[in-house]
Symmetry: C2
Subunit: 368 residues, 2 copies
């Protein structure tokens, strides 16, 4: 603490990211990283931008990253048959930065915003940063989001809604019909759908981006950290009505003109174009997820149905904190949240089949 702090610094409770230990031989299943490398085309694009002498890096990047916006539009034209214009796309330094700007630009109103009581734990952190009031809406008994609960009476109205779909850390998916019901019931509030994990939801990807032309209050936020294996590159984006995107651009251009560096723009653009690689790796993860689910169930875990690249599971008799500690002693790290309702669950990233086997082997010893 220091007498020089602005008053707001005192009220903050910063987010604590999952640890990034640098230990050899570690089975790292704690931060939902993709176990497979990124697209070789993305690597080639970054090598190309770097060149032999890095001379391009002496120049500022394109502040609006038009090439990346073009790649995002092309990706959804090919994948989902959507026609997106650059004015419907915003890009940022990871989806965390995009979310932060969305809280400031679109969710800060007189009325409180709504979010599930169990969701991405960064959302309440943004609320404190920007002075946004929020109400927590309880998930159902099976951790399901009940969209009807977001359309009821909330005093002075609803300042906005933010949901992760699939939700984190539960992994549960809300069908597109439920999202549409939520949008229709709240036409005067911005609804932010955080689709960080949606590419793992199934062979067909039920993205809400398909709805943006019909709902000017819908903002969909995505990241390249998970399904594109680029957590280390920091690229996220938002898709929505041009009016919502303009608000994000105004904040961004009052904050940092160039949040994406040249290598990130080049790598992300090429990664989005390589849908073959995307499909190969996401199918591998979904396949491993099914195998891991069965193995965990055989060991006595109750597993929440997952549409993400992680599994949320609770053992019938063993304490979650003790399980996490025992796994760590065997060089396997998973995430355990000491929070109400979920302190007996573990969130386990779906790794390669070999990593999943190492986890199961360790758990078999522990629960024996």
């Amino acid at each position: 603490m220091s007498p020089y702090w602005s008053p707001l610094v005192h009220r903050l409770t910063p987010y604590v990211p999952g640890e990034q230990p640098q230990l050899p031989g570690l089975v790292k299943l704690n931060t939902n990283e993709n176990p497979y490398p990124p697209s070789p085309h993305a690597v080639a694009a970054m090598q190309g931008e770097l060149g032999s002498d890095g001379a391009r890096l002496r120049l500022y990047p394109d502040p609006s990253a038009d090439a990346l916006k073009g790649a995002i539009a092309a990706h959804f034209a090919a994948r989902a048959g959507c026609t997106l214009t650059p004015e419907q796309i915003f890009v940022g330094n990871g989806s965390d930065e995009v979310l932060a700007h969305a809280f400031m630009a679109l969710l800060k109103h007189d009325a409180p915003i709504l979010m599930p009581d169990i969701s991405y734990s960064f959302y309440p952190v943004y609320c404190r940063l920007y002075g946004v009031e929020h109400l927590s809406v309880p998930l159902g008994e099976a951790f399901e989001i009940r969209v009807g609960d977001y359309a009821g009476e909330f005093g002075n109205g609803v300042g906005g809604i933010v949901l992760a779909n699939p939700n984190a850390p539960t992994g549960r998916l809300l069908p597109l019909s439920a999202i549409e019901q939520l949008l229709a019931a709240n036409p005067r509030s911005v609804v932010v759908i955080d689709e960080a994990y949606i590419d793992f939801a199934g062979e067909t990807i039920p993205t809400a981006i398909a709805l943006i032309d019909r709902h000017p209050n819908l903002l969909v936020i995505r990241t390249l950290s998970k399904s594109h294996s680029l957590a280390g590159l920091r690229v996220g984006y938002a898709v929505g009505d041009a009016g919502l995107i303009e608000a994000l651009e105004r904040i961004k251009n009052s904050f940092n003109s160039y949040p994406l560096d040249r290598l990130a723009i080049a790598g992300a653009s090429a990664a989005l174009a390589d849908t073959t690689h995307l499909d190969m790796t996401r199918r591998a993860v979904m396949h491993s997820r099914a195998t891991l689910t069965r193995a965990l169930e055989e060991l006595g875990f109750a597993v929440v149905p997952s549409a993400a690249n992680f599994i949320f599971a609770r053992h019938a008799t063993h304490d979650a904190g003790q399980l996490a500690a025992a796994l760590r002693a065997r060089s396997v790290i998973v995430r355990h949240f000491r929070l109400p309702r979920i302190d007996q669950h573990l969130r386990i990233t779906v790794g390669t089949d070999a990593q999943c086997a190492a986890l199961i082997g360790a758990l078999r010893e522990i629960v024996a």
Copy 2:
């Protein structure tokens, strides 16, 4: 405009960066980029981090970028004999992001902050973003900062002070003794010194980082965009008392856990270690600056003494806006600000000797 905007979005006047046209054969002297490539060691470090298959990029970067903080400490231990601890160093996505966090964390108080009437035009943009009141303190007749003007009576006191040194777009340098005088006169206010251009100030670099141990209210902000030729990589940092740095960390960890990607951390760390390359390129720029200054004076320009990698100059008879347009017609772009007091000046980046010669050749035709 959209009914979904937060009220604050309406009040913003976003910053407009210098344009980044993609035209072949352009002599680009408008955004103060370094004309020389970055350190070959920086390029090698980025190639190494990328590897043959980009596999490291699937993992999140170190959220606190400890390797980069170590490289910054080592840089100043070697260059300035300073001993910096990691708790005295903050890193971010370009110095613009670092500045933004500083405005929110350290400059938002009840009393207005002070800044020169002519300085980096992003400062008032941050003020509007975060609702920080500010007062503009006029520069002297020769565009000099008069530090005595920042210690007078300002109603309810001073919420903080922000200065660029060398100042932009003037290029004028304030000696370290004047900075120390300013710090001593304002012990209860944070003083932010933005040293984006300080490496071009002379053979010995008069950085205020030398003062941080004696002044807990001093925050010095730096960038790798200019002297390290890495504008395209987006790395900046701040050095100051641990209490000030903690405030920045609290904001950053409530905003975006990982603002620096793996390639940026690797490249910036290696660039800071290569002081031989830094000295070679900054000396070349300073040499070209002297030559360019003489040539401009011979063409009838009055040149403000520059300690930066740009020159701020006014022609005796030709209108600055017309000169900028005529240069553009000859594929040379410089920056012209249509602002009070400086609308008859041009800000010209110091390029290679060949680029400077092209500029002078074009100007000779124009003013003939």
